[in-house]
Symmetry: C2
Subunit: 294 residues, 2 copies
């Protein structure tokens, strides 16, 4: 059952030739991410987060006083509010709270630190709405997981209040690409391969930016004091070791960390929750985790 | 708060000189494990599991038709029903089911494979009571986690039915002692150090037994088909990497695996749940996990 469902998603993802070029890639992720619409009971509202585009969502029965702030994936070069709308809105339902999706600027037009600046602008905007940090969870998938970690690290460095918890789905934590699973899972991952990651990293953090900088590769950050964190990753991902090693680094630094490895799942699988029971289950677990800490 | 509580447990553990000699060690673990008694509403019953001593427990309100089978830790050389009674009985309460604690034979008097034989005898006894495998969870701490994994691996090899899920607390998965945390956490772990583990491994699996054998070090087993598994480990454990690497190995082999790293916690901390909120919380999480799969 779950195998049939994930096979159908694999078929969707490989139904067209792999796009080349940034605008084609952006169009493609928007397409495959928005195949299934947002649920009928979700209210969406466009937002201007002090200049950064965003979108509020709330499902019926959710608490507007607490917020899941979300950064979409796409290697810092693609992805959008549209591509991740179904994932974000259902995550909000599972966490029973409002969501705020952030459309940070993308590379190569806007390389590092543009995305970091936008994430911080969005965070400050949210706080200025009167939402206490303890009522905010921050999450993201893939590059959005990277941005989640680095935003929190910047807040910690500045001695500012942090969100209550973090949720990382298939996070990209190591832009030096040193994880063994980049090789061992290459044959089973339909989306993420080393050459593609190299291209993304070069666009987002071009030389002379040091990819070992903890602000680029948060796997190498000192994580003491980081908030409780849930990491979810599929077993059929080249980024498996980005998740496992980040869990190890965080846990070793006295962070409360939970790592879930989901059999047969692929990169950022909760995007396709509309037709994937394991996507719904992962969001349900993420929602439970978030509610435990907020 | 949680820091004060764990500091008090550390004080308890170091209040007497570290014992030398097997019988002194057995006495000491029984002492520190039974400082706080079992809760008043727990019914205990001695059991003869076809020759292997055991103990049933059930807390008020629990389901007698489902069973958490438990293997205590102690490096295969110490530990008992007495030392782990508080941990086992409260785990059963959290899982809302009966428990069956197994007093397998200990090394050096009874080296490998005596413990494996007794675990299998206990499993077969339980099945003969008419309990379906899907109504059984198996769990253990430290060497008991090792025994949990190897029992399930033996069932898988034999093509027999497996328990519904596994729960591993601070598991010892690598008797070759190759985990980096054996060094990096040596200064903060009050209990487990490499020289001690070497002594235990020599007693349990003396030459010519190969410690790389997956039946001795299940970290090196092929884990495809292993049931859903929760692994809980403290951040201040030399065995941190035994947990992290087993999670990685299992997840990579398409096992549904959850790893929780608990800040400031030490080896097998749920033993002291009577005076340790994080011990109670860990058991609560374990109970939730078990109920999800049974």
């Amino acid at each position: 059952m779950s195998q049939q469902e994930i096979d159908a998603i694999r078929t969707l993802l490989t139904s067209k030739p792999r796009p080349v070029g940034w605008s084609e890639r952006r169009q493609r992720i928007d397409e495959v991410g928005s195949v299934w619409p947002v649920a009928d009971d979700v209210r969406l509202e466009e937002a201007d987060l002090d200049g950064v585009p965003g979108e509020w969502s709330i499902a019926s029965g959710s608490d507007a006083a607490r917020v899941l702030m979300f950064f979409h994936g796409g290697g810092y070069c693609s992805g959008s509010i549209l591509s991740h709308r179904r994932m974000v809105t259902e995550a909000g339902r599972a966490a029973r709270m409002r969501t705020l999706a952030v459309a940070y600027r993308l590379a190569p037009e806007h390389p590092y630190p543009a995305a970091h600046e936008d994430a911080m602008t969005a965070w400050r905007f949210l706080r200025k709405q009167g939402i206490p940090a303890r009522n905010i969870a921050v999450g993201g998938d893939s590059a959005g997981g990277n941005l989640t970690i680095t935003l929190i690290n910047r807040l910690r460095s500045a001695g500012e209040e942090q969100p209550a918890c973090a949720w990382l789905a298939s996070p990209w934590t190591d832009l030096t690409m040193s994880g063994p699973s980049l090789e061992t899972k290459d044959a089973v991952d339909p989306l993420i391969h080393k050459a593609y990651l190299e291209e993304l990293a070069s666009a987002y953090a071009p030389a002379p930016v040091d990819r070992k900088d903890p602000l680029i590769s948060p796997l190498f950050a000192d994580l003491h004091g980081f908030p409780p964190t849930l990491i979810q990753v599929g077993s059929e991902e080249t980024l498996l070791d980005d998740a496992v090693r980040f869990a190890r680094a965080a846990g070793s630094a006295e962070v409360n960390v939970t790592l879930q490895i989901w059999p047969h799942m692929i990169h950022a699988w909760p995007m396709w929750n509309a037709k994937l029971e394991d996507g719904r289950q992962a969001l349900s677990q993420a929602g439970q985790f978030i509610r435990r800490w907020l």
